[in-house]
Symmetry: C2
Subunit: 275 residues, 2 copies
């Protein structure tokens, strides 16, 4: 039986999403909590959690999706209660991560390979003085920025492009060609900026390098057109620096039919349902 999880986490105290030896990651805390709640003996084949995509250390999520399999001999599909599993997991997990929804999905659903779009928001606070309430979720910049110039620069992003200029060097084997569905910088007032971007996939550090370039444009260290020039060149050195992880949040992962609304289904009213 394949189960999908809708996850929210504050990235600050996670060493990213993917399991790494001796580090606290989203995948590892889930792989530790699940066998406990499901009463699976730890000696069995380890339970593996697959995430829709990697988020770096410090990056947040309000709409990360994961899947894992429960062997049929362990839990009877007819008595399984998704809601009770969510409560159980949230009773074990720390306050900085939560299972917002649980759904039983078809066996061919794959959190990563079935996904057709990832939506992110990068949050900036451009203000003279720091903000306690935004301390963990916003990139704080004190020098006033030209938001119009930044907005002008984003126009070139939607469409199919080679994003090699916005890719950190790593062993990432993903194609640099991404289909960007939208990319918008909203000015919410009082120095609050939100950069929203959606694409079929992203190359490593792509959004943080785009934001780093936009910030240099806002600070008039570079021309609004230089973002397009960097994009066309495919050369990393023509783009700006990598913006901090703490401003970035994975807000949604989109799946095609028949998986489009996997979490919209009404929770099964099983025996274990305490409502």
């Amino acid at each position: 039986m394949r189960i999908a999880l809708l996850l929210e986490y504050l990235g600050k105290d996670f060493s990213g999403s993917q399991a790494q030896k001796d580090l606290r990651t989203v995948q590892s805390v889930l792989e530790h909590a699940l066998p406990t709640v499901l009463r699976i003996k730890k000696t069995k084949k380890p339970l593996r959690v697959i995430l829709s995509g990697r988020t770096d250390a410090g990056v947040h999520a309000t709409g990360q999706v994961a899947h894992f399999d429960i062997p049929d001999q362990i839990i009877d599909r007819n008595v399984f209660d998704a809601q009770v599993l969510a409560w159980g997991l949230n009773g074990i997990l720390s306050a900085d991560i939560s299972v917002r929804k649980v759904a039983v999905v078809p066996d061919d659903f794959h959190a990563r390979y079935s996904a057709i779009q990832r939506q992110y928001i990068y949050r900036i606070l451009n203000s003279e003085q720091r903000s306690p309430l935004f301390q963990n979720t916003h990139y704080f910049l004190r020098t006033p920025m030209d938001v119009k110039a930044m907005q002008e620069a984003t126009i070139c992003l939607p469409g199919r492009h080679d994003f090699s200029a916005f890719k950190s060097t790593n062993s990432d084997k993903v194609s640099p060609i991404c289909d960007v569905d939208y990319a918008k910088l909203l000015n919410l007032g009082e120095g609050e900026l939100e950069f929203s971007i959606a694409a079929n996939h992203f190359v490593y550090n792509m959004i943080r390098i785009i934001v780093g370039t936009l910030v240099e444009i806002g600070l008039k260290k570079r021309n609004p057109k230089s973002l397009k020039t960097a994009l066309m060149s495919g050369e990393r050195k023509l783009a700006g620096p990598t913006a901090p992880a703490s401003g970035l949040c994975l807000v949604s992962v989109k799946y095609p039919p028949p998986y489009a609304n996997i979490f919209a289904q009404k929770a099964k009213q099983g025996k274990g349902d305490i409502k």
Copy 2:
């Protein structure tokens, strides 16, 4: 010389706003930081910070206002730089409190007595599972609530009323008659609710008891009309319980002319200005 401060703080680790012996409060951390930044010897008359109003332990603020006086013999009015004082204070204060703005104000400005309106927002998350990103700022309720019934109940709040029914017993000598300028419950979707209320002043725990009553209405434990019944009766026992402090935030304090825009003035470009 009288100075006004615009303050933001996360209430979680404060024992409220007012100075209390051996407790960490907003007033006490400011009264500790100010003499340091201003280079005032601690042996002199202690510097007193006056806040626009009290916020309880756990209550947040994004728009709290305070004032204090600097003796003229200590700092020359002509070389005083408000922006540098803000940076200095924020260099000393912890991450959960920030001086967002500093302004030199007329000597007859008083953070508390000059104020004509206080605006608060109470944030609720009504969702099956808890949210890591809202853990410190929202009142989390799992059972689905009837938001329309809650909204219907709020209609009786605006206007001049005796709010004795929504007042915790304490030694508070403030009049129970409050002029409520507006009171609205917004449904932001995904279980996010925002109750916004503004009045000339509030009685002790008034907003938290109103929200506690609204929540009982949302949970169908009481009728929407019962809020008005409680209000008219003036009896505390007819209102609901006090909702948790963590959902409440003081967002703005309004002053009449000539103080209406004290923080809008452009910061003085003094020698110490590093911009």
